[in-house]
Amino acid sequence: MNRCSLARILAKTLAWFVLFNALFAWANTPDNAGVAALGQLSLYNALWPGRLRLPYGDDPSRAYNVSLYSLEAMFASHVVSGRPSAEFRVFLIGDSATWGWLLRNEETLAGQLNALGLRAPDGRPVRAYNLGYPIMSLTKDLLILRHALRHQPDLVVWLVTLESFPSEAQLDHPIVRHNAPAVRAMIADYALRADPNDPRFVTPTLLERTLVGQRRALADWLRLQAYGALWGATGIDQHYPERYEPAQRDFDADLRFRQFTPPELPKSALAFDALDAGIRMATEAGIPVLIVNEPILISQGRNSHLRYNALYPRWAYDAYRAMLRAHLAQGQARYLDAWDSVPQAEFTNSAVHLTPRGVRLLAEAIAPAIADLTARR
């Protein structure tokens, strides 16, 4: 071996490296399509049991779970992607309250609805699937709903709250920003008010689409597969701290809701267009939708005459409720306002996170509406 052969080896190595990355970038065009396709490959529902909620983990080593941007990989890891059986499939869409922050799977809304043992009139068991995700954004809910419709739901239950509505925050969340093609398609298809050229969208450059550029996404996908073993072995998919800071009950005399001050919460500042798009998306596929205004903490502490909780001043939330009710009154979706269905003692660490008993109360409030909709299906 001499200098020439060394140079040849190095040149070949470099050429293969460049070629492989170029091929990867080509296969990954447009907009990370290749990585998205790869996300459909999954050990879940085959080697490992499917997850009962979408993957999300701030502390992967303790939660045995990982947050990633690939909706394909997220759904491929979910039990909803498994072989469907003869059942009435109810998909629950929503935020961290639906996902079940601090709750074990059997304690979540999906778990407790399933425990009620509901049956459709044709005898099929009603099975609720937890498709909540711990981000408050209706556009994020739309993204998930768009994917979820591929999995043959019989009913969509969409739990919403005011914090998911502000239009200016719809694109703030990484999962929305990193799924630009899907969000742009929804903007076009449903005439959403969001700007398709919003700078918050992440559009990978050629270099970012290479193997090297996508190493983080690939590593996340690989870690999701590996954590499936611990999910299967332990049934744990989030870290449960021994203690948590209870939700705030006493407040300053602050009347602001985000940038809004009383008396006006303009409807134009809220993403009702996204809500309408979701309802349209489902109903066009022949799937009924139940919109639920999710329970909030109604505090009885200091200044609670001004604020319901840390998230919402009374004036803004009351205005939102009125708007939501009026907006849905003429629409195609059924509406259930469950905002006060859970007493304040049944909230955990935020104004929307419930204890298992609180979820039970919510499940019992929702169950009749679900039973009614199964009859109409």
Binding site: M1, S5, R62, L222, R223, Y227, A229, G232, A233, T234
Partner: protein, 462 residues
């Protein structure tokens, strides 16, 4: 294979060998500082490597031939002093103050005093022990005492307290975790090997620089393999010329090792058995999965490190001993231990098991008792070397008894001239051996016997 000439002026093999040796010496001294992690006790990232270096100097003094060249000794000693004081001096040059140590080093005067003290001790030892090889036991005892202090939690905590007091930090906050002396366990083996070889009259003559390179050899500093001095010296003194074939082979080995460590082992680590998931696992099948992941993870992790060390050394013409040879495919436990952490097993065989069994034979012990005592205590010591805990002791005893039972079975089979087992039987033997080893890992992976028992019960569906 043709060699590559580095530069016209450096083409001489002698020059390349000298350059390589000087480079290895410098890299090994600097490497122990660079690799040492920061600790809660101030400046320990400087002092622990410095003490490691001084220990090596002291052991060299205890084992070196009396007629060392004064000129070479002064040159080597000055080289060490320049390197250590240079590292200490970086504290005065802000952008470089954490180049070699994680936190700024102490002032140069303190470092100089420490070097002077270490040098004086080395001189004293050389005077006292040099002419009396039998006295190396004294140095050996001191090394063992230090190892015990680092492995027994209450003693480590006391040591941490003393170091904290020295640094003016809260003694009450002392914890055994404060003293994380990277590489000491392997330094211990190399220094003891030198002492024992010297006592046996087998240690070749080594210059201070050669000995420091051997004892602190950077590629093998973290996790071995544990080389023997005479073998290492043979490579260090052999004709060396940068060789592309060796470098390519070394590079391949590093790449394989990096893949094992950073891809396979780190991926398996995500779901390998540990203290937390042992309490959470539901059912025997999943428990076995976590245990298999642990067994593979520890193999790829350690094997990967060994590959990287062997590969880097190979580039410099040093052929470190192999540490692993497909251990999980071996048909019995004896062969497993001949192919798992080979350099450690050979070290214990050479410096503990063989001397012990020889001594017991001369006392007329029966063969089975000698074998039981030798294998059980050897494996107990290997277990306790990882840490003085009940679980490591049980792990050692598990393997010691396993080796004894296999030894008795092998003797029984040999006496009856039983034929070589067929392939299927060998495969079953490999499966049985793997599971025996894997069950042993339960004790190794978990911190206390109660949890380990619980895990064993889960594995068997109890």
């Amino acid at each position: 294979m043709a060699d590559i000439a580095l530069a016209p002026s450096l083409t001489g093999r002698y020059t390349q060998a000298r350059l390589r040796n000087a480079g290895l010496f410098v890299l090994s001294v600097l490497g122990i500082y660079v690799l040492q992690p920061a600790m809660p006790i101030r400046q320990m990232d400087f002092w622990l490597p410095t003490v490691a270096l001084l220990l090596a100097v002291v052991v060299w003094a205890a084992t070196a031939a009396a007629d060392q060249s004064a000129r070479a000794l002064i040159a080597d000693g000055s080289g060490i002093a320049v390197l250590v004081l240079g590292i200490a001096g970086t504290r005065y040059i802000e952008p470089l103050s954490t180049l070699f140590t994680r936190t700024p080093a102490p002032d140069v005067l303190t470092a100089l005093l420490a070097l002077a003290f270490g040098g004086a001790v080395a001189l004293l030892i050389a005077r006292l022990i040099g002419p009396r090889p039998g006295w190396t036991w004294g140095v050996l005892a001191a090394l063992v005492a230090l190892l015990v202090a680092l492995k027994v939690e209450p003693l480590t905590q006391a040591l941490a307290g003393a170091l904290r007091a020295w640094q003016g930090q809260s003694v009450a906050a002392a914890s055994a975790l404060d003293v994380r002396w990277l590489g000491f366990s392997y330094l211990f083996f190399r220094l003891v090997a030198a002492l024992r070889e010297r006592a046996a009259g087998r240690l070749p003559r080594m210059s201070l620089r050669e000995f420091i390179t051997y004892a602190l050899f950077a590629p093998a500093w973290i996790a071995g393999p544990i080389d023997r001095p005479e073998r290492f010296l043979k490579d260090l003194r052999a004709d060396f010329r940068f060789n592309l074939a060796d470098s390519m082979e070394g590079g391949r080995r590093v790449a394989v090792g990096a893949f094992k460590k950073f891809v396979l082992a780190d991926l398996l680590a995500l779901f390998a058995l540990n203290e937390a998931n042992a309490l959470q696992v539901r059912g025997a099948a999943w428990a076995w999965l976590l245990l298999y992941a642990y067994a593979l993870r520890i193999y790829f992790d350690f094997g990967g490190y060994s590959d990287i060390a062997i590969g880097i050394a190979r580039v410099f013409g040093i052929r470190l001993p192999e540490n692993f040879s497909r251990p999980y495919l071996k048909p019995n436990l004896t062969q497993f231990w001949n192919s798992w952490h080979i350099s450690l097993a050979q070290w214990f065989r050479a410096y503990y098991f063989n001397p012990l069994t020889r001594a017991l034979r001369t006392r007329g012990w029966p063969a089975p008792a000698i074998i039981l005592t030798g294998q059980l205590t050897t494996m107990l010591l290997i277990g306790l070397w990882h840490g003085v805990t009940w679980n490591f002791a049980i792990w050692g005893a598990w393997h010691g008894l396993g080796l004894f039972i296999h030894n008795r079975w092998a003797d029984f089979a040999r006496a009856r001239a039983m034929p070589e087992p067929p392939a299927l039987q060998r495969a079953l033997g490999a499966a049985l051996t793997f599971h025996f080893v894997a069950l042993g890992w339960v004790w190794f992976a978990l911190p206390d016997p109660a949890l380990a028992w619980r895990m064993v019960a889960t594995l068997f569906g109890l």
